[in-house]
Amino acid sequence: MTDPGPSPSPEEAAQTGTLATRLALKQRAGGIVVPIVTVIFALVMSWIIVAATQHSAHTALVVFKEIFDGSGLNWVFHPSTNTFTSISAYNLSQTLLQTTPLILTGLAVAFAFRCGMFNIGANGQYLVGLMVANWLGVDLAGLNPFLHILLCIVAGTLAAAAFAGIAGVLKATVGAHEVITTIMLNWIAYWTASWLVGVGGPLQNASDPTAPISNQVSPGARLPDFWGKQGFSGLHIGIFLSLAAVVVFWVLLNRTTLGYEVRAVGFNPDAAAYGGINVKKNLIRAMAISGAFAGLAGTLDMLGGAQNYQIGQLDIPFIQVGFIGIAVALLGRTTAVGTLIGALFFGGLLYGSFHGLGSSSVIDPTLASNLTYIVQGLVVLFIGADVLILYVWNSRKRLRRKPPGTAAKGAEAAA
C-alpha cells in the first residue's frame, strides 16, 4: 500500500528474478499442488497419444495400469519380500535400483538450481564417477572390501566434483554460461570414457580385446545386495547412500552457513554481496557440490548394478540419468523431499515402462517405453512454464474469493 508506482506483479517478478527466485515463486504459488497437476496433465496427454494411436481409450488405460504394475508399486497391495516368488516385490526392487541414481542426479541438478545455475552436465559428472569407480574398483583388487568401496566412492565423487567445478570456475571468472560448458563437458566425459574402455584403451577389459567394454569391478568392491539374491542384480545398499544424500542435501542447505550462502546467492546475488558473501566462490563451490552428487550416483551404479562400462550402451542409466535428473529436480521443486518423490516417480515410470511392460498384452513393449520420454518432456515443459501455472493457480484463487482491493493485495504480496 505504501510503495509508489506500480509494484511488480508476480508474473513480472517471475520474469525478472533469478532462476532460484522463479522456482521459489512457483513453490509459493502452488506448493505441492502444482507438481501433482503437472504430472496428471503429462499423464493425461500421453494417455491421449496412446489412445489415439491405438484407437482405443481402454487399451491406453491398460497400458498405464501395466506400467504401474510393472514398476512394482502395486507391491503395497500384496507385500511379500521374496523377490523370486513375488513379481511385484522383484519389480519394486528394480524400480528402487533405478531410483537410486535418479535421486542423486536430481539432487545434483537441484543443488545447482538453488545457487541460480542450471547444471545440464549431470550426465558427464555421473560418467566421471562411473569411470573412476571402475578404474579403482578393478585396479585395487584385493583391498579390504570396506576400504575399497569407500575409496572408490570418495574418489569418484571428488573427481566428479572437480569436473563440474570447471564449469563453476568458468562461470565465476569469465562468465561463460554453465549450460554450454556443462554440455561440452558431457561430451568430453562421454568420449573420454569411450576412449578409456574402447579397443586399445587403458581401461579396456583384459579378456576380449575386440570388445569395447571395461573390466568387471573386483568382487571385493561390489556393493552388497540386501534385497534379492546376490549377483542377480538385486537392490544394493547404494539406495541407503542415496537416501543419506537426501538428508545431507537438506542439512547442507538448511543447517549450514554454506547452504545459507548458496541460497542467498541463488535468490539475490546483489543482496548476498551486500551481506558480505563471496558470490564467485559460492558459484564454484555449488557447482562442485552439484557434481559430487552426480558423481556419487555414478560410483554407486558402477559398484552396484553395472560393474562395467560399455561404449554406447543404450541402457537408460548410462545415457539419460543426468537429464532425467533435471525433470526429477524440477518436479521436486528443488527440495530434498520433493526430489526424492520425483525420483521415485521417474524410477517407477522408467522401470515400469522399459521392463515391466515386457509382457504387455495390449501394446508393443518398446512402444510404451518411449512414453517415459514423452511424460518426462511434458513434465519439464509444463513445470518450466511458471507463468502458465501461476495464471491457472491465481485464477483459481480469484474464482474462489473476490475481496475488494485485490490489486493492492497482489502488489503487496509481490513486493
Partner: protein, 412 residues
C-alpha cells in the same frame, strides 16, 4: 636511433612487427607444421613440424605480449597442435597417411558439417531475435524421423523435406509459445522439447514401422553430380580427380547448406527484416518503441530455426550416411554441437559455418584416424568440445551474444 634498431624502422619490418600480422602468420605456420607431415609433402622426420611449430608459437607469444591476446593464443595453440599432429603423422606409416588424408576426407567433412550448418544457422536466427533455442537437438531429431516418414509415405524425398520442415516448424511453434508468450525459462523449455522429441520419435517409429526397419526403397535425398568432375575415379590421381572425389558427388542438402550460409548472411545483415531481427535480440524495447512487433519477429525466427534444424535432421536419416533409416535418438547431440558452432562462430552465418566445418572435419578425421587405432580416433572426438569450451570461456576472445538473448520480453 642507430644501428639495428634504426634499421628496423623501415616499412616492411614495421608491418612485420604489427601484432595482427604476426598473429596471423603464427596461425598459418601452425597449420603448415601439421601439413608438412601429411601428403602430399609428407616429411618423414619430426624435426620440421617441431621447428615450424615452435616458430609459430613464438610468433603467438610475441603477439600476446603486444596486446592482441586472442590472436596470439590462437597462434600458440595452432603451433602446439601442429607439432602434435606432425609428430603423430610422421610416426605413422606412409600407407596409413595416404588413406587417412585423401580427397574423401574433404567429402566427409562436408557431409558431417551439413546438419550442423543447418542447425547452427537455425539457432542463429532464433538467438539473433532474442530466444535461446536449446531445443535444436529435439527439432533436428523430429526432422530426422518425420522426414524419412514423409519420404516413405509420400514416395519422394521432396515430400520428406516438406514434412520434416513442417514438423520442425510446428515443434518450434510450441516452444515459441512457451518461451515468448508464457515467458517460460528458455533453457528448461528447450530441454523439455529435447525430451519430448526423443519420446515422440521413438514412439511413432515403433508405432508406424512396428519395430521393423524402414523399407530400404525409400526415396533418398539425391546427390548432385558436378559436370566434368569424376565422382568416383577408378585410379585417382591429379587435381581433377581430387576435386571430383571431394565435391563431385555431394548431397543436395550439402549444396543447399552452402547457399543457406550466403542467404542467411544477406537476410541478417543486408535486409530491413534482418535489422529488425537483430534489434529484437539486442534491445527489444527500443525495437518496440519504433513500431516493430517484437513477438511476431521472435515467433518467426524461432519457427524458422525449427524448420532449419529439421532440415539438418533429415540429412541424418535421408542423406548419404543415413540411407533412409531412422535410429532411436540418432542426432546424438548434434543439435548441441550446432548450438556450440553458432556460439563459436559468434552468432554470424559465416562464422557458424566455419565452426561447423571444423567440427565436421574433426568428426571425419576421427573416422579416418581409425586406420591407426580406433582408440586415437575416439579420443580425437573430444577436440570440438574442448575447442568450444575454450571459445566460450573467452581464452580465444569473448564471443558476444545478442544483448537480450534468452530474456523474455514483456510488452508495456
Amino acid at each position: 636511433m642507430n644501428t639495428w634498431t634504426g634499421r628496423l624502422e623501415n616499412p616492411l619490418s614495421t608491418r612485420l612487427r604489427d601484432p595482427g600480422t604476426t598473429g596471423a602468420l603464427g596461425i598459418l605456420l601452425g597449420a603448415f607444421a601439421a601439413f608438412l607431415a601429411i601428403p602430399p609433402i609428407e616429411a618423414r622426420t619430426v624435426t620440421w613440424p617441431i621447428l615450424v611449430g615452435i616458430v609459430a608459437a613464438t610468433f603467438g607469444v610475441w603477439t600476446v605480449t603486444r596486446g592482441r591476446r586472442r590472436l596470439g593464443w590462437g597462434a600458440v595453440a595452432a603451433g602446439l597442435l601442429g607439432i602434435g599432429l606432425g609428430i603423430l603423422a610422421t610416426r605413422s606409416s606412409a600407407a596409413n597417411l595416404e588413406s587417412a588424408f585423401d580427397a574423401t576426407l574433404v567429402a566427409q567433412t562436408l557431409g558431417f558439417s551439413t546438419p550442423l550448418v543447418f542447425g547452427a544457422i537455425g539457432g542463429m536466427f532464433s538467438e539473433r531475435s532474442g530466444v535461446v533455442n536449446i531445443g535444436l537437438e529435439g527439432m533436428m531429431l523430429m526432422g530426422a524421423f518425420w522426414g524419412v516418414y514423409g519420404a516413405d509415405k509420400g514416395g519422394t524425398w521432396i515430400v520428406g523435406l516438406l514434412v520434416a520442415a513442417g514438423v520442425g516448424g510446428l515443434v518450434a511453434l510450441v516452444y515459441a509459445f512457451f518461451a515468448i508468450h508464457l515467458r517460460a525459462d528458455q533453457i528448461v523449455g528447450g530441454t523439455a522439447i529435447n525430451f519430448l522429441a526423443v519420446g515422440i520419435t521413438g514412439y511413432f517409429f515403433i508405432q508406424l514401422y512396428n519395430n521393423n526397419p524402414i523399407p530400404n526403397d525409400v526415396s533418398l535425398l539425391p546427390n548432385l553430380h558436378v559436370p566434368g568432375l569424376p565422382a568416383n575415379p577408378s585410379n585417382p590421381h591429379g587435381f581433377v580427380d581430387f576435386l571430383g572425389q571431394s565435391i563431385g558427388d555431394l548431397s543436395v542438402l550439402t549444396w543447399a547448406a552452402l547457399v543457406l550460409v550466403f542467404v542467411a548472411y544477406l537476410v541478417v545483415f543486408k535486409t530491413p527484416i534482418g535489422l529488425r531481427i537483430r534489434a529484437c535480440g539486442e534491445h527489444p524495447r527500443a525495437a518496440d518503441t519504433v513500431g516493430i512487433n517484437v513477438y511476431a519477429i521472435r515467433y518467426g525466427c524461432v519457427v524458422l530455426s525449427g524448420v532449419l534444424a529439421a532440415l539438418g535432421g533429415i540429412y541424418l536419416s535421408e542423406g548419404p550416411q543415413g540411407n533412409g533409416t531412422f535410429i532411436f535418438n540418432m542426432t546424438n547431440g548434434r543439435g548441441f554441437i550446432a548450438l556450440a558452432a553458432m556460439i563459436f562462430g559468434n552468432w554470424r552465418p559465416a562464422g557458424a559455418a566455419a565452426a561447423a566445418l571444423l567440427f565436421g572435419f574433426s568428426s571425419a578425421l576421427a573416422l579416418k584416424l581409425q586406420v591407426y587405432s580406433s582408440s586415437a580416433g575416439t579420443l580425437f572426438q573430444i577436440l570440438p568440445y574442448v575447442l568450444t569450451l575454450i571459445a566460450v570461456a573467452g581464452v580465444i576472445g569473448r564471443t558476444i551474444a545478442p544483448a537480450a538473448d534468452g530474456k523474455p520480453y514483456a510488452k508495456q
